[in-house]
């Protein structure tokens, strides 16, 4: 077997970095400074590794566009394959930016006590799970990284140990344990029907089931199960129940990651499985819907996915938007807003799945990705800002806040920019998300969807302005007067805010990146070719003893 190429090695680099960081920080219990230093170094290395993936695999002229890594030197579909393509790279980049911000933030604002020595290992394990989920090309491996990510997030939700926190964590754990069991059911069913777990192999087999002697009909229902699992991670209605309490209970810089990273893992998994893997499945679906005088019908499972996502997305936009308007604390608004915003991501994905026009499908995925990018940046910033406000004033309830804008203009400007990005004011990144999503709906001639998006956007304005007026304007309260605001934290916020502006003003390369990502998501053939399960189907005759 040949040595591994550079591009291929890049694929696993981010995972190795966080793995080593996790192991190293486990040993540094007594050395908080070293712990933070190692973590920061790992964060920087992670960022560099992701940047290298972006450039050398995806974006550079002549880059291959996709690279794979066979863990343990076992060829696909026997070993576990890691795949980095445009979609994975886009997601990783998004998460890396926020993750590093959150990490720097964590060195300044660390919920304390004895548990602190485990904060950074937990953080790295969380990143490990998220990264693994983005990179893996194996269904069961995806389950494993989901569990790693979840296990770390469970304890973060319960981290502060109070009554609210433990209860929120238990609810969160209970719903996700259910989801894990459903995930296993889905994986088991898919293995039973298709005889493989490798996503590329799966795609190949589903596209031509007769050649493999398969009966792929059950995969649509199994995909439905997996959808529900991913919808829990993404927080789509009616799987969103854990979000308000868990987001409130976790330390804010972790909530930033829950909203910015784990949520996106759910979105990523939906896009990856629906489009790269299951889109080509030779299964006809046909289900008349007499009530709305329509039908879920087509030659692949996509119409079913599309219908499900549109319903869930619509529910999310309404529940999140209406809920957010009435909240009485900053993180309450943002938590509900997260539910609503993920609806804005699900709707274009749903349109992409429903449409038969390939150009529109790609455009819709681009829209979803751009919206997701903005949500990661803006919502991440806002949750981090909750952390700043809370560590400065001891509260984030509107009743105790007011006049923050006068107290710290840089903080105020950062939050203002992020709020405007949520609303979708040009030229911020959020505008392009909203613009593209509306454009997709308009191109799909989906009147009701446009109405829904308009309602959702109006609700966004309502809650964003309310949050702003209640906490940043208004008469200054005692808590705000007595606040000491951490400059490093504000610095992180400022950098994220600048990113939001820069992404908007220099949107062209971002769009091209998203376009590459969407192409990658839709290009099943490239994915299959890169992983090349067919070629390797005869496991090499060479003895394993020498490798």
């Amino acid at each position: 077997m040949t040595p591994v190429g550079t591009e291929s090695q890049l694929v696993i680099a981010p995972m190795l970095i966080v793995l080593v960081a996790a192991a190293a920080t486990l040993f540094l219990g007594r050395h908080p400074r070293a712990r933070a230093a190692v973590s920061l170094a790992a964060g920087v290395a992670y960022g560099l590794a992701v940047a290298a993936i972006d450039w050398y695999i995806v974006l550079a002229p002549g880059a291959p566009g996709i690279a794979t890594y066979q863990v343990g030197d076992w060829p696909a579909p026997f070993g576990i394959t890691l795949v980095a393509d445009g979609l994975s790279a886009f997601m990783l980049t998004m998460v890396a930016v926020l993750g590093i911000g959150s990490l720097v933030f964590s060195t300044r604002h660390l919920p304390g006590g004895e548990g602190r020595s485990y904060y950074f290992p937990l953080f790295h394990f969380l990143s490990l799970g998220v990264t693994g989920a983005f990179l893996t090309g194996d269904l069961f491996n995806l389950f494993v990284w989901f569990e790693v990510m979840l296990m770390a997030s469970y304890v973060f939700v319960a981290y502060s140990g109070g009554p609210q926190h433990t209860r929120a964590a238990f609810w969160y754990v209970a719903l996700n344990l259910l989801a894990s069991a459903v995930f296993l059911l889905g994986v088991g069913g898919i293995y039973a029907t298709t005889g493989t777990l490798n996503m590329a192999d799966l795609a190949q087999r589903l596209a031509d089931p007769a050649a493999y002697g398969l009966e792929p009909v059950p995969v649509v229902g199994l995909l439905g199960m997996l959808l529900s699992v991913f919808a829990i991670k993404a927080g789509l209605v009616p799987f969103q129940f854990w979000i308000p309490t868990a987001y409130r209970a976790a330390p804010p810089q972790i909530t930033a990651l829950l909203a910015g990273a784990t949520k996106k893992v759910g979105i990523y998994a939906i896009i990856r499985l629906s489009f790269t893997v299951f889109a080509g499945a030779e299964v006809a679906v046909d289900l008349p819907l007499p009530v709305v005088d329509a039908a879920i019908a087509g030659d692949s499972p996509l119409p079913f996915v599309g219908a499900a996502l549109l319903v869930m997305g619509a529910g999310s936009i309404l529940v999140g938007g209406i809920g957010a308007v009435g909240r009485d604390s900053m993180e309450g608004v943002f938590a509900y807003s997260s539910i609503g915003q993920v609806g804005f991501i699900a709707v274009p994905v749903g349109i992409a799945a429903t449409t038969v026009d390939p150009a529109l499908r790609e455009f819709a995925i681009i829209a979803a990705l751009v919206f997701a990018l903005n949500h990661t940046l803006a919502k991440g910033l806002l949750f981090l800002a909750v952390g700043t406000v809370r560590s400065a004033t001891g509260t984030s309830r509107f009743a105790d806040l007011g006049g923050l804008a006068g107290r710290s203009p840089p903080l105020a400007i950062a939050v203002f920019i992020a709020s405007l990005a949520l609303v979708g004011i040009p030229p911020l990144s959020g505008f392009f998300g909203k613009f593209l999503v509306f454009d997709v709906a308009a191109r799909a001639r989906a009147g009701p969807v446009i109405v829904l998006l308009l309602v959702g956007s109006l609700l966004t304005i309502a809650y964003a302005t309310r949050m702003w007026n209640r906490s940043f304007w208004g008469a200054r309260t005692d808590a705000v007067d007595a606040a000491t605001i951490d400059p490093v934290q504000v610095g992180v916020l400022a950098i994220l805010a600048a990113t939001i502006v820069v992404v908007g003003i220099g949107f062209d390369p971002v769009y091209e990146f998203a376009e590459t990502a969407a192409e990658a998501a839709l290009d099943t053939d490239a994915y299959v070719d890169a992983v090349d399960p067919q070629n390797a189907s005869e496991l090499g005759g060479s003895s394993g003893g020498d490798h």
């Binding site: 591994v4 996790a22 192991a23 890594y69 863990v71 343990g72 004895e114 394993g544 003893g545």
Partner: protein, 149 residues
Amino acid sequence: MRTTARAIVPIVLVVAISLFVEGHNLPGGGFIGGVLTVTAFGIVYMAFGLDFLERGVLGREVDPGKGPSRDRVVLAYRRLFAYGFAIAVVSGLAPLVFERPFLTQTFVMLEGVPIYDHLEVASALAFDFGVYCVVVGGLLTILSVVGAE
């Protein structure tokens, strides 16, 4: 109970370790060996109480005022799973030096070893040892922390 424990624990431990070592070829492996080892310790805890290992075996004084997490035994367990995790990661990283992918395993056949005649030493054993350590360390941490409550 204690008598039974005295009789059972060594047997369980031996079985556990042999399961771990033989795991590559017979049913067993790092997980099973690890969990069984933990079960042995569990029986000790049930029979003799949490402090037995410290006071009874190691002859150390136990400061009852400390919380569970400060207990020296717990610390040892915690170190164990940290080491285990490190071993697993390092054993996975080692092939990179030889320009092989992460977690590539290999093995050598040793001939003429007493008792076994021929023995395979698989690099996977290192990884499996990491698994063993994590399982033992991790589960014992859980057990002792919960038990101390």
